[in-house]
Symmetry: C2
Subunit: 330 residues, 2 copies
């Protein structure tokens, strides 16, 4: 096993990742909605990673990790509640590698179906982080698979950060630089990668994380100055239930201004707005950035704010239930 | 009242309409999905009118009609189950005109909310076509409003046809001409307009209509050679419950090859595919084109098929119910 992936990622890793994955992933659109802008009192730009390969930004990190595998690797494995697993399965299939994904029994069916659809094997485990890690460890002992972790990994963080390079480019093409860039934070791969990219490319942009109040370890870590590594997550945002990784925390504390929390109600309302106004089917986790802008309006008023819509994979019937009896009135 | 809007629209009217509405409406994207192509055995290109102004192609016709109003018109009115009403309300607000929309009590709440949101007045009526027409007539007698009909109108048909001009241009930009162009048909404004556009611009393209089996008046009209003007619609595709207009039938019988019908199950499955694979929130009526390709596979196999996704406005809780207990398995 190489040791150079165990230290912290750098901004240069993000630029290298952009080259590694160029042509393999989509340059997703950056869209806006006049109606949502009027509601929020800010100019919001949504980066559409629900339109990315596998329907989530995770394709970026997975693709970069497989570009940087130890020589002669034939099989990769990971644990994931969904999008990272699908992304690794997709990236492995692209390169002709075998792939196994350890998934908690609570993972959405649609995400299991996606992993299976890309030809990966699935091992079901209990819902906790410890359950996942022990199942993965056992698998590696049995098969010798190379682990590609979902977020606490230099290659993954660098790959996810490429989304910020595109956002800055796309905003500049439209003649401005965003004042603030907001991204949801779960394990912190995306947020750490964005922090590194922005620090090098456009250090005037304020990078902010957003997370459910029911999974607020990142805020507690950042504001308290100590890495919080346990929590009992309680949120519909299934992609944000994990705690910050070690590398992720180390990068985020240096590059991210703050993490704000949002309510479950705010997540549903933001998701409803995105569905009805932009016609984009984003998953609950992906609505957390907009929820942050709406619930912390004063911090964003009259700013140009770029928000990452992280993915669009979900069980429709579960999410649909959220909208029952809550339809807007005429 | 001018009389020149009472005769049949021509292909030239469509080209003029494109000029009339240029800059007021979006040139919506044309997208594809590798997964849906593999499922269908055809190369499908989806024209994204759910991303049009007001979330539906109806913005085209309404905008064109208001560009061609009789001089000194100050108020417009119409009847509509939803998208035409919202489109007229939007177009009227853009031009500083008053607008009233007669809506059946069965219209989706989201569509009522949209009409109200653009500042138009709403008059609620019974669910039948006769209910709508008598309520509208009464309104005109009281107010002198100029009626912009939802589909049986030269200006509306011409405006809707502009979507086909864009489709042909966008396909040519990608280096091909579609073999078949499929559009849902309710009152027939869209399908007639497309027929006129294609007849002039690319007559080798086969134009086909698609409608629910539970609202199959267009197929019966076209195949039987007699205009069917009554039916008892039974379909979730609320935009397609109306019968073909007189002008619409006259144009469609000359320019459209055939109309195929689809099942309710097929509509839901097509909608699920579009939601999950393209992450585009299309309404049931908008899924009817893809449902036609999936249920009549042999007619489309290995062809380049352009399909109009007509809109994305719906009551989320109603549509969500369709997906209950029907989730794909892992």
């Amino acid at each position: 096993m190489p040791t150079d992936h165990n230290d912290l990622p750098t901004s240069a890793d993000v630029f290298t990742a952009a080259q590694n994955i160029s042509g393999r992933i989509h340059r997703t659109p950056l869209i806006s909605s006049g109606q949502i802008n009027r509601l929020s009192g800010a100019d919001l730009w949504f980066k559409c990673e629900q339109l990315q390969k596998v329907g989530a930004f995770k394709a970026r990190g997975a693709s970069n990790a497989l570009a940087l595998l130890p020589p002669a690797t034939q099989m990769v494995a990971t644990h994931s509640s969904g999008n990272h697993g699908a992304a690794l399965a997709w990236a492995a299939a692209e390169r002709g590698l075998a792939c196994t994904v350890v998934m908690p029994e609570t993972a959405p069916l649609a995400k299991r179906a996606a992993v299976a659809g890309y030809g990966a094997e699935i091992v079901i485990c209990g819902p906790s982080q410890a359950d996942r890690e022990s199942a993965l460890q056992k698998l590696v002992e049995q098969t010798g698979a190379h682990i590609v972790p979902p977020f606490d990994d230099r290659r993954i963080i660098a790959g996810q950060g490429t989304v910020a390079l595109e956002i800055v480019q796309q905003c500049r093409e439209q003649g401005f630089t965003p004042d603030i860039l907001v991204a949801p934070v779960g394990g912190g791969g995306l947020l750490a990668g964005i922090g590194l990219a922005v620090a090098a490319l456009a250090p005037d942009i304020i990078v902010m994380g957003a997370e459910p109040a029911g999974a607020d370890d990142a805020q507690r870590s950042l504001r308290g100055g100590t890495h919080v590594t346990t929590q009992k997550p309680d949120t519909i945002a299934d992609g944000l239930r994990t705690t910050l990784g070690r590398r992720n925390y180390a990068v985020i504390r240096r590059t991210v201004r703050d993490v704000v929390t949002v309510t479950e109600h705010g997540i549903v309302e933001a998701m409803r707005l995105l569905w009805t106004r932009t016609k984009q089917l984003v998953e609950p986790s992906a609505a957390v950035g907009l929820a942050a802008v709406l619930e912390h309006g004063a911090r964003f008023r009259n700013k140009n704010v770029a928000i990452v819509l992280t993915g669009g994979n979900m069980d429709l019937h579960r999410v649909a239930d959220l909208f029952n009896d809550r339809e807007e009135s005429p």
